[in-house]
């Protein structure tokens, strides 16, 4: 009996490279925004791409959405090449990009959706039914005829989400979907993505974020991306397990202490520090926090008053810091490698 | 704010505006060359309708049959005037576009002080460009010659004209805080001036345009300037015209200031200052 061939994965990215030229004239330099990214999403997976600002997440998403042409590598959506068969791929992809201005703010939600429906070939009653359904689903019924310029950020994001799924795509690309939203809307968006789109409708979703808890809550697997490279791809539990016996010592103190002596302590694996409003929050990653606690306190006391101490189990953010040496809150857009 | 502090802000605004202006060198070259090109259709039209050189009908209307010189002088003066409209009138809109308008309004400096800085910069740059154009044109065989005896009264008239026009431009700048979409309105204003003042043609040819043109300072200035340059008139009633222009300037400057203040306050009340 012949084998039934397994369906092509929803998304297959192989060794994608994307460079950008920056600067003017003779001062132009080439930076590598995506550096050999490889990942495969089986159908129905909710996959996360987690990394700090400037890591290359948006660039990779735009390559998949056929808005950018990669300089090397291949991208296949449901087995079709995104460059050679771009029309097919665009029909299968729903895209939500970050940013306030991605809709016609002088038009209503319904007018916006009517227009985009036409671009995806939705017509007549099927279009109207689909838009009615999405407006109901996303709680936009009361405002559907008002101009978008009067909407809050959260409501605009709902309309963006409606546009992304208007044509019932197989693969949904969500680039920082809850960026800049208040907690209530952010919670709604996340719940919608997980429960409605992924669990109920079985959509394959690639979600990019720099919010650790969002990735942890939503994603079945997560890729860490930093400085254009995909560092690792695992489930959240696997990431946390892979830092055995590691704890995070969180200390808040006044001023900006010198962290070099702390880094040099035996048993300290990583340090991240954030200075804000005159207070430094130091995160010291060590197999057992209490073995370094007293020495760390001694070093810090010289520099200023200690305001608080806590020992925590690692979160994904700590895992990211441990694996990459970079904090998720950092801006790495200027740290991308230059290509000679 | 003290006078010294105000002067410092004006200087800072001038430096900033000049730096931004010169970061687009292509634009400077464009404005130096193309306004002269825009008069060519009129020159060819003249050649087609009455042949090259002179028009008897023009002679009757304006005192000179040299329609080419008529058009060129109108072009130079209007270039001066409209660059002020674009530069000053549009300038605050550009601040809104860059996202800096709210920060200007939030500062202790009145936006009008910023406008003064922009106005002075615009005047300086445009003067240089028009001077270059005038020099080039004087070498061409259009019967336009500039002497010191002609240039000085022309400069006086242009200076008085621009004073009033900047008052108008300041009022317009206030409107741009409300209108948001400005370019179309600036073009419309330009074309209204082209229609109702003797930039492109002698407005006496039509009763309506002749009447309306008397309300526009540009009309008075252009008639006098052409009289000086084309007709070599020593006595164009320059002091009378200067007086008329001064009167109009007073009205336009005061009116422009009051309009701007009222509109700026309105946008702050409506909460639309930073809106693009």
């Amino acid at each position: 009996m012949s084998e039934i061939p397994s369906p092509a994965p929803a998304l297959d990215v192989q060794a994608v490279v994307k460079n950008f030229r920056r600067g003017r004239g003779l001062k132009k330099k080439i930076t590598r925004a995506v550096d050999g990214a490889t990942l495969t999403l089986p159908r129905g997976e909710l996959f996360g791409l987690l990394g700090p600002n400037g890591a290359g997440k948006t660039t990779l998403v735009r390559c998949i959405a056929t808005l950018l042409i990669p300089d090397a590598g291949t991208i296949k959506v449901l087995g079709h090449d995104a460059f050679k068969d771009s029309l097919f791929c665009r029909q299968r992809i729903g895209l939500l990009t970050s940013g306030e201005r991605t809709l016609y703010w002088k038009l209503s939600a319904r007018d916006n959706l009517n227009f985009f429906a036409a671009l995806y070939g939705l017509t007549g009653k099927a279009r109207d039914k689909r838009i009615d359904y999405l407006i109901e689903l996303l709680g936009l019924k009361d405002v559907e005829r008002e101009r978008l310029e009067r909407y809050s950020s959260g409501m605009k994001q709902k309309v963006s989400l409606a546009r992304a799924i208007l044509h019932n795509p197989d693969l949904i690309l969500l680039d920082e979907p809850s960026l800049g939203l208040d907690p209530q809307f952010a919670r709604f968006i996340r719940k919608f993505i997980k429960e409605e789109l992924n669990r109920k409708q079985g959509k394959t979703i690639l979600l990019t974020t720099h919010y650790m808890d969002e990735a942890d809550e939503l994603c079945q697997r997560i890729a860490f991306i930093n400085k254009g490279k995909i560092i690792d791809v695992k489930t959240p539990e696997q990431y946390k397990r892979d830092i055995p016996h590691t704890e995070v010592l969180v200390i808040r103190c006044q001023g900006q202490p010198d962290t070099a002596p702390i880094q040099a302590l035996p048993g300290v694996e990583r340090i991240a520090s954030e200075f804000k409003d005159g207070v430094t929050t130091l995160k010291v990653v060590a197999p057992r926090a209490e073995t370094v606690l007293s020495e760390v306190i001694e070093l810090l006391r010289k520099g200023g008053r200690i305001l608080g101490i806590d020992i925590k189990q690692p979160t994904l953010e700590d895992v990211f810091l441990y694996v990459t040496g970079t904090s998720l809150g950092a801006d790495t857009s200027e740290q991308k490698p230059e290509v000679q | 704010m003290s006078f010294a502090a105000t002067a410092y802000v004006i200087r800072a605004e001038m430096v900033k505006t000049i730096r931004i202006y010169f970061s687009y060198p292509v634009i400077i070259v464009f404005w130096a060359i193309f306004p002269v090109l825009w008069v060519f259709p009129f020159l060819f039209q003249g050649k087609a309708l009455v042949g090259p050189g002179q028009s008897a009908a023009f002679q009757q209307l304006t005192g000179s049959g040299n329609y080419m010189a008529f058009i060129l002088i109108g072009a130079m003066v209007s270039n001066f005037v409209f660059s002020g409209l674009w530069g000053v009138g549009n300038s605050l809109r550009e601040e809104t576009y860059w996202g800096t308008m709210e920060y200007i309004i939030a500062s202790p400096t009145h936006p009008l002080v910023i406008l003064v800085g922009k106005t002075l910069t615009e005047a300086a740059i445009t003067t240089c460009i028009v001077a270059l154009q005038a020099t080039l044109i004087s070498f061409l065989p259009f019967g336009i010659a500039f002497t010191v005896a002609k240039v000085l009264p022309v400069l006086l008239l242009v200076g008085l004209l621009m004073l009033g026009f900047y008052g108008f431009a300041i009022a317009f700048a206030g409107f741009t805080l409300l209108i948001k979409e400005v370019h179309g309105w600036v073009h419309t204003l330009e074309w209204v001036f082209f229609l109702f003042s003797p930039i492109r043609y002698p407005v006496q040819v039509n009763v309506i345009t002749a009447f309306v043109s008397k309300l526009i300072p540009l009309t008075w200035a252009l008639i006098a300037i052409r009289g000086i340059i084309m007709l070599n008139q020593r006595d164009v009633g320059i002091w009378k015209i200067a007086g008329v222009l001064l009167g109009m300037d007073a009205v336009l400057l005061v009116g422009g200031y009051l309009t701007f203040v009222a509109l700026e306050r309105k946008t702050r009340r409506d909460g639309t200052v930073g809106m693009h």
Partner: protein, 304 residues
């Protein structure tokens, strides 16, 4: 994965949704899809334009205000409506009708340079260009939709212009020349679409794209025989004028409506415009495709 509590389904969920369309369907179905997208783009532009009613009204009045100085200048030069010099040159002396027809046609050229030319730049300004380009329709569909809006808008402006000139000056044209003029306009618009595509794509990569439109428009205003016959232009300008579709549009329309002598036959005029159609459209599509690829390689699509 952190397990959230079991949540209720969203209201309205579970409705059957249409299957995604496969773009590789029968050509007719695909054409229908593209036609729908073109129409939707056109409607969207009208809706956006009409949210600024004052600007819309102004845009209809502008062409009249723009045209009048040229007409009045002509009258001032000649001392009346009829020019013996013009009669000698082209066989017609009515300067009002002569100039009006010229400026009606140059409006189409400006439309290609500005309205069509800035269509994609507008989408960039809205912030919607990426969303629109991510849709499964070829790029030319969007420019065609925006061109449709521009052309309809242009016809509205022309109607206002002609009504005004007829009311104030009376337009003296040969009614039998209307149909062949419209045929020439149709051909000319196809060629202008190609020019519009070039302008649209250049505005995507040049931040000061308006400079290119302004410069090109200024040059074309000079070489195109708007308010004067081709014969008054220097020879090199005449040759340049003959590569521009609007030249033939203007000359042919004035020939049909006023009896102007063109210097070549009607058949030759139509043939040349047809050739220009093919040339400009092909050139426009090629330039557009190249620049589209460039912006997708360089990542500047969303930059405004």
């Amino acid at each position: 994965m952190a397990e959230g509590s079991r949540v209720q389904g969203f209201k309205g969920s579970g409705t059957r949704t249409p299957e995604p369309r496969n773009p590789r369907t029968l050509p007719l179905a695909r054409l229908r899809h593209y036609a729908l997208a073109v129409w939707a783009e056109n409607i969207k532009e009208w809706k956006l334009e009409l949210t600024y009613p004052l600007d819309f009204l102004r845009s209809l009045i502008d062409p009249v205000v723009y045209l009048l100085p040229y007409v009045l200048y002509g009258i001032a030069l000649v001392g009346g409506r009829y020019s013996p010099n013009l009669q000698k040159l082209v066989g017609t002396s009515d300067i009002v009708s002569f100039i009006t027809i010229g400026y009606v046609f140059i409006g189409f050229m400006n439309m290609a340079l500005w309205a069509m030319g800035f269509s994609l730049r507008k989408e960039q300004m809205y912030g919607t260009l990426e969303a629109v380009f991510a849709a499964p329709v070829p790029r030319w569909v969007f420019t065609m939709g925006m061109s449709m809006h521009s052309i309809l808008h242009q016809f509205l402006m022309i109607a206002v212009q002609l009504i005004f000139i007829t009311a104030v000056f009376s337009l003296k044209v040969n009614p039998a020349g209307l149909l062949p003029s419209l045929a020439m306009i149709g051909l000319m618009l196809v060629a202008l679409y190609g020019i519009g595509m070039i302008m649209a794509s250049t505005t995507l990569i040049f931040k000061q794209g308006w400079l290119i439109s302004e410069a090109l428009g200024s040059l074309l205003m000079v070489v195109t025989p708007i308010a004067y016959p081709l014969a008054v232009l220097p020879v090199f300008m005449q040759k340049t004028a003959l590569t521009v579709p609007t030249t033939y549009g203007i000359l042919a329309a004035r020939h049909f409506l006023l009896g102007e002598q063109m210097g070549f036959s009607v058949g030759t005029a139509f043939l040349r415009v047809a050739v220009l159609c093919v040339a400009w459209v092909v050139f426009g599509l090629v330039v557009f495709a190249l620049i589209d690829r460039y912006t997708r390689r360089s990542g500047t699509l969303s930059h405004y």
